[in-house]
Symmetry: C3
Subunit: 424 residues, 3 copies
Amino acid sequence: MTAAGEEMHALVERLYPLCRSITGDGVRATLEIVGEYLPLRVHEVPTGTQVLDWTVPQEWNIRDAYVADSAGHRVVDFAASSLHVLGYSVPVSATMPLAELRAHLHTLPDHPSWVPYRTSYYRPEWGFCLSQETLDALPEGMYEVRIDSTLADGHLTYAEHVVPGQVSDEVIVSCHVCHPSLANDNLAGIAVATFLARALAQRTPYYTYRFLFAPGTIGAITWLARNAERVDRVKHGLVLACAGDRGELTYKQSRRGDAEIDRVMRHVLAASGRPHRVTEFTPYGYDERQFCSPGFDLGVGSLSRTPYAGYPEYHTSADDLDFVSPEAMADTLAVCREAFAVLDRNRRYVNLSPYGEPQLGRRGLYDSLGGRSDAKEAQMAMLWVLSLSDGEHALLDVAERAGLPFDTVAAAADALHGAGLVKA
Amino acid sequence: MTAAGEEMHALVERLYPLCRSITGDGVRATLEIVGEYLPLRVHEVPTGTQVLDWTVPQEWNIRDAYVADSAGHRVVDFAASSLHVLGYSVPVSATMPLAELRAHLHTLPDHPSWVPYRTSYYRPEWGFCLSQETLDALPEGMYEVRIDSTLADGHLTYAEHVVPGQVSDEVIVSCHVCHPSLANDNLAGIAVATFLARALAQRTPYYTYRFLFAPGTIGAITWLARNAERVDRVKHGLVLACAGDRGELTYKQSRRGDAEIDRVMRHVLAASGRPHRVTEFTPYGYDERQFCSPGFDLGVGSLSRTPYAGYPEYHTSADDLDFVSPEAMADTLAVCREAFAVLDRNRRYVNLSPYGEPQLGRRGLYDSLGGRSDAKEAQMAMLWVLSLSDGEHALLDVAERAGLPFDTVAAAADALHGAGLVKA
Amino acid sequence: MTAAGEEMHALVERLYPLCRSITGDGVRATLEIVGEYLPLRVHEVPTGTQVLDWTVPQEWNIRDAYVADSAGHRVVDFAASSLHVLGYSVPVSATMPLAELRAHLHTLPDHPSWVPYRTSYYRPEWGFCLSQETLDALPEGMYEVRIDSTLADGHLTYAEHVVPGQVSDEVIVSCHVCHPSLANDNLAGIAVATFLARALAQRTPYYTYRFLFAPGTIGAITWLARNAERVDRVKHGLVLACAGDRGELTYKQSRRGDAEIDRVMRHVLAASGRPHRVTEFTPYGYDERQFCSPGFDLGVGSLSRTPYAGYPEYHTSADDLDFVSPEAMADTLAVCREAFAVLDRNRRYVNLSPYGEPQLGRRGLYDSLGGRSDAKEAQMAMLWVLSLSDGEHALLDVAERAGLPFDTVAAAADALHGAGLVKA
């Protein structure tokens, strides 16, 4: 798994310099790189398209941006970091005194060496983000400001990758691709999603897994608007965000709170012995907001390490390549794989011999020597599956009720199924 | 609010000397005084009227009562306190030795200086209540006993005051008016109910609030019997009793335990930070017994300070004017007002844009500058209202789920309603 | 009750030497002795009869069995204890070296002086059980082994005893009669069941109580198979096993977990103040496995002292006559009687005067002197029964909700029933 961790970190490193936003070439370049790992179907949705309550905005692209002092020295330079420009800044080319410029400068006084991440998608605005230290060092005087950006009719870009399963019921895995040079939020999520898709494809899963790489909010809303008929097939889902920092894993439950994905994630995290947190749904955070809006109310949770806004480096230049680790991403990936392995096998069986116990012994499923008190775990698992396979309990229910590992219970169900004692 | 406390205490002082019982002129005089504060509709129900399983009894009135020693000195005198006569005593005029008289004398040996409160409504009986000290000081010998009372066909008297609301669904507020010179039980309840009605009338409430001033048990039963068609309109209710002592507030839940009034009172008491108790329903206490009888099973709880029989002064002469304080009554009144303010606004809204989040920004309901992590409470409240407005959750559910103040949530609902995003 | 304890221990002593198994004359002799205490209806079900998923096996009988050394000395002798032979051993008569014999010898290395109990019902096998000490003392060399047993078409034997009740709904009490010389497992269970049946017959119970004395697993399965139409009448049940050791009582709940028998047993054990355990259902243990299989899912729990496999002496020669005590069996019996006394009276009543409280005073059910705060327990019980008799609550619900003894609540219900205020 260390190998996967290193590969994911390498992917993060490649994506890091790109200036992503909710539209534009930065997203396209990102998807092109991901596409080297995974075949993607890229969608381009025109500006002005009505998507649910929203409208696809104009496309934003940026080539250069800077603040230069009277000597022509660039004191703030987009070329150094995509964070330096306020996302979706309208173009500007002007010279003005620092006093006037200040209204367009964003800093973090509490973290004077960090650069904040700021956007203004839906109100025309321009601005720069810089460190407080840089700002403090600027002498009064005239400055040249220039943002060479374009806001024009174009497209919103997102991509899908599908791992076909045995059934058409879907699990959706979603990660936002709109944040610029922030490693944990959300290049780590993109990397984990990419490698998770590759792992799932190693053998045909039960469910069909749909991976969505889309800009936050407007991207998920666009997908939902364009897939109204498909939404009914989405039985479970997971939003991946902040997936690479060194903090413990955090699972945020779906709005339902008792959706199957919630139960699976709680079980897998608890059974794994990892320190972790499970939190209630709140209508703030990432795209679970959209999937869990009351009209859809999908069983979609969110997996992070340190969650949304839970660390000082959040939405600052300190969320950099060092902030995410190969081990943490590998660990997030492992939990996703474990969870989907449970989800995929979490069937409801029906005991075909429900009156009394079936005679397991003559089917070779039970020790013939009686009187011993050390009933084996595998035998107990079979008895539990038989006892609870009344159409109401799935295997995860059985495992939790029995206090047995899910794998043992699933193996028992397989054995009983093979003997014709239960049906799926 | 101190002013209200003083006014309520003044009302208690005026009512204190009157000899109330379940019928008779003491009740009428009480209602006349309350009527100076509040327009009352007074009902007179004739003796013999069948009310549910009960019959309105004969009316009891009393002019004088005493025990006099052989020197003609009144050793127990009704004129000194209405507690001295057993409630509903039949008339008596006799001379008898102390030994014979003792069977008719009630004392509190554990509190030798206090006079108990005793009644015999439904079995013809006469008697006197006095302090153990007084009894102990009586020499053997002959005593003249005289109770100048009347038990005759007449009426049961109760009164109503209605604060009309926007809807005809009703909240009933009930207090018993049958106890004689006992300040906490229930003159304080009468005073709080009176000032609560005045406060509610300051602007038209959502619900119609019906205040009931009636004798305990038989009064509530009479009202229920005569308002069979109206009972269906009673959606919530509160019985006020023991509302003025210095103990902490106690809310006794309705028989349902999860009625809306129960949830509102629990929320308001907890949110207020006041020390308080919430207790389960029991079929003993005050008129919640009748409103919550299984045939009606109304959502009616009971608010007291120290509850029924929970203090030594209960039903004794020590429940006097000093036992109740203006501050305590003002506090009880304040909680009632807070609770009804929540109850009145606790609507269920329906999100009219339930698929994905509606775009709050273009409606001026959302900060335009993105990237910041300090989502404001008001914005969170709007997101919570949108998330939970599925017809199943009322605003109190939203507030408790969100961990936000009810007022903030109600304001958010107002804003969303104003923007046409939710309907009531 | 000590007398009953001594009588039960005497019964255990008589049954102890017999070699019981799932079929054969040992079971018949056992039922004959029980039949001296209780009229039994004995059933003989032929070999080969299909019972649910199982088939009644051949009948096993044994006359003698031993291992003799080269001097002809019996080093292991069935005559000394029925445990020495592997249950259902096929006949054997051979001479073989110890090295070859070892594969057929069963010991308990951790308890070197104890003899284990082992069976092989469904795979043809022969063997001996002996102490590790005995085995260790055997010199190498040739041994004569002889098991004079018969495995032949015959019958499976079980018995029933019915205590007729006022209604045809049944309570089943089941104990297994297939274990050889093991006192706690299950001669104590047989003894408690026997004396419980006698106690219940002292006056006609509400339910019809059916006692089942049958071999474990195959016996219960046979009864269920032959009583398909009767199973619907079985409303409650109790499996008695390990009923005589000195440990605290353990009630294992039915698969439902909230069956009435579960609630009754929990209540009675808690109310009695006895130290005890209540455990969740597991699909392993005694014949609750069959009664609670998902097709039947009967409300059948299991009462033990130290439960199944919970003590080192379990299924060994140390589960002998000293391991069970008269006091423990008397205590188990007492709890069964208390529980069935509650179960038998646990009716649902309907308040016939549900609107307001009925006037208890004029029916002589309520103190006429008002004002006192010491409402008596009996009166509170009546108010609780009236409050909760809405068809949803049985008397046990009332007792638990009210925090009153079941007997007090049942007496209140009787009084109200006598006054025509409730109906059953």
